[in-house]
């Protein structure tokens, strides 16, 4: 039953800019079950959004280009689809919520218009029916007084409300996959809680699979089953959500978890990951984390570690699992 809805195989999306090539996503693979939920975490600029946009095939081109890999959605490779075919999928089978609720809605159209647009396009409903549906969706995402609100403009709504509208819009055509790119980052804690609560509720109601992109490890913990940790365009670790917190297998993940202050724990002093995120124009050779890694050895500087299954369903890309020997596999 756990059929794959989405599978990324060695996805590579590069940006060819004046200053050089940015390997924003450089061989990312993961999979998502039908109705499953996956969190993608990582620091700013590690390629989370680019991964999501690649799936949607919304990479600005130029300068961006999917240069390799496959995006298998329902077994079909989206990377090879024609633009017209993609349009049928976007907003219909795969939809997306963006980080900035303030700017992601068009200020000159009513929220109703903007929701109806996708409904009319994909569901072939007429205007009146589409409006009904839009109101229904607004009700679903918990917007009070949806009959009135449907005719309001984005600027008349608060950030939280707008994000609800975005969610309503994304869900309006019953997508099979919902990609949420930092849906709560721009929101206040109490509003964030509302939205997370809403998403949790909708997940069970709508049944869409979810990819949740965030840099907030707390949000991931609350909402998804599986987690992918990215660093500098690469997946460094992936596993289920419990294991990632309990037994992180990559020094980066470990460092990350240790460096954030936590509400339910008291620490004398925070751990730090020294150094900075590498420049995308000059990625370190070998393991991209090696300049900041406390465990780094010579091999890390030259050989890129493969993503190894270090435990059942727990993958990590670090030489430490091979005792820093390139060829040694672990069970």
């Amino acid at each position: 039953m756990a059929e794959k809805l989405l599978e990324l195989r060695n996805l590579k999306t590069y940006f060819f800019t004046e200053d050089g090539t940015v390997p924003a996503v450089d061989g990312v693979s993961f999979e998502l079950k039908r109705g499953g939920s996956l969190g993608v975490v990582g620091e700013s600029g590690c390629g989370k959004s680019v991964t999501a946009l690649s799936i949607m095939r919304l990479i600005p081109q130029p300068p961006g280009k999917i240069v390799g890999g496959q995006i298998l959605f329902n077994g079909e490779d989206l990377a090879k689809k024609k633009e017209s075919e993609m349009r049928r999928i976007r907003g219909n089978e795969i939809s997306m919520i963006f980080q900035e609720p303030m700017t992601s809605l068009n200020p000159v159209f009513t929220v109703g218009d903007q929701i109806m647009e996708a409904i009319i396009l994909h569901q072939k409903l007429n205007k009146r029916e589409a409006r009904e549906r839009a109101i229904e969706m607004l009700k679903l995402v918990g917007i009070p007084d949806p009959d009135r609100r449907v005719d309001e403009y984005p600027h008349q709504m608060s950030g939280g409300m707008r994000q609800r509208v975005m969610i309503a819009m994304a869900l309006s055509c019953n997508p099979k996959l919902l990609i949420a790119d930092e849906p709560t980052t721009a929101l206040d804690v109490t509003i964030q809680a509302q939205i997370l609560d809403l998403m949790r509720r909708l997940r069970s109601e709508v049944g869409a699979a979810i990819i949740l992109i965030t840099h907030d490890l707390g949000v991931v913990a609350e909402l998804v089953d599986d987690v992918v940790v990215m660093y500098a365009g690469k997946v460094v670790e992936k596993t289920d959500v419990r294991s990632i917190y309990a037994t992180p297998q990559h020094p980066y993940t470990e460092g990350l978890l240790e460096s954030i202050p936590k509400l339910h724990e008291e620490r004398e002093r925070l751990q730090t990951i020294e150094g900075v995120v590498p420049s995308p124009y000059s990625m370190p050779s070998g393991c991209r984390f090696h300049p900041r890694c406390p465990l780094a050895r010579d091999i890390c500087k030259v050989e890129e570690p493969p993503l190894l299954e270090v435990e059942q369903g727990h993958w990590a890309a670090c030489w430490k699992h091979t005792d820093f020997e390139p060829m040694k596999e672990v069970g």
């Binding site: 004046e18 721009a186 900075v276 995120v277 995308p280």
Partner: protein, 306 residues
């Protein structure tokens, strides 16, 4: 809100760690833009021509050769006179070369006057706000309400005779609001900058804040604005000359020459008007390309909001 800046800001980390300086970055962007470089070449070329006019020009621009040789009246372009001659047998090539001085002088002086008034008033308004701002904003709106050319003409005609000084003063008096408005906007934005607040927090006075923290940071848009304006002023001089209100003769201003020669356009002696006209066009083009290039390179946003 905090989190949104976070993402935006963090996005830059990656880009900027490379450690290119603002200037070199802009320079690189500028020199990659072929049109911008063309603009720069034109402008620099013109400045050189203006500076070395006496050495470049083959003849005295005022010398009327036709008295000695009537054939040199309205002579067509030739090797001896590449741009031809005018009615009096003055060498148009030399006149166009010397015209560079006048045109650039008008452009530069008008820009200086404009910028001086504009920056002063704009800074006052933007920095002190309150009634000073209200007053200056009002003045800006008032002056801005006058159709540019008409107002310049109206001012010029107050004076009994036209002169170079009057022309650029009139231009300055009329066209400062643009730069003042921009300066004011930049000031309002800049004074909200945290580094300005930080400077105040460490005890910096108004003077330091204006001259060290705000002005240097708004130079780029003003440079762009001034460059584009210079092109506009050269054109304005041409329009004024055409209407008969420009720089008085025999000063070889391009606008004057182009308009003196305009009637000869239809009688076959096209060069009298066309040559200075082309000079105007190339110069304005140069300033426009340079301004556009600077804007793109310095990443100054289009002045759409006011």
């Amino acid at each position: 809100m905090s989190a949104s800046t976070e993402a935006a800001a963090a996005g830059v980390v990656v880009k900027e760690v490379k450690g290119k300086s603002l200037g070199s970055d802009a320079r690189r962007r500028f020199f990659r833009n072929r049109l911008a470089v063309l603009g720069l070449v034109i402008t620099v070329g013109l400045i050189l021509v203006a500076v070395f006019a006496p050495y470049v020009a083959p003849y005295d621009p005022m010398e009327q050769l036709a008295w000695q040789d009537p054939a040199l009246s309205l002579a067509a372009p030739s090797w001896a006179h590449p741009f031809g001659t005018d009615l009096y047998g003055r060498d148009l090539f030399s006149r166009v070369i010397f015209g560079t001085r006048i045109s650039l002088a008008i452009a530069v002086m008008a820009a200086v006057v404009t910028t001086a008034i504009g920056i002063t008033l704009g800074s006052l308004a933007g920095y002190f706000r309150g009634w000073v701002d209200s007053l200056i904003t009002w003045l800006i709106n008032v002056v801005w309400s006058f159709p540019f050319l008409l107002f310049v003409l109206a001012i010029i005609t107050i004076f009994p005779e036209a002169s170079l000084t009057i022309v650029f003063i009139a231009i300055g008096v009329v066209s400062w609001p643009d730069i003042a408005r921009m300066t004011r906007g930049q000031f309002l934005a800049a004074r909200e900058n945290e580094y300005v607040e930080a400077a105040r927090a460490v005890g910096a006075g108004d003077f330091l804040i204006i001259f060290r923290h705000i002005l240097p940071n708004i130079l780029a848009p003003m440079l762009v604005q001034a460059t584009l304006a210079m092109g506009a002023y050269i054109q304005l001089e041409a329009a004024l000359s055409f209407l008969g209100f420009g720089v008085p003769p025999p000063t070889p201003s391009w606008g004057r020459m182009a308009s003196e020669g305009q009637n000869y356009l239809f009688s076959g002696q096209w060069w009298w008007s066309i040559m200075p006209g082309i000079a105007i066009m190339i110069t304005v083009l140069g300033f426009n390309l340079l301004g556009d290039g600077l804007r793109d390179a310095l990443d100054v946003r289009q002045q759409t909001e006011s």
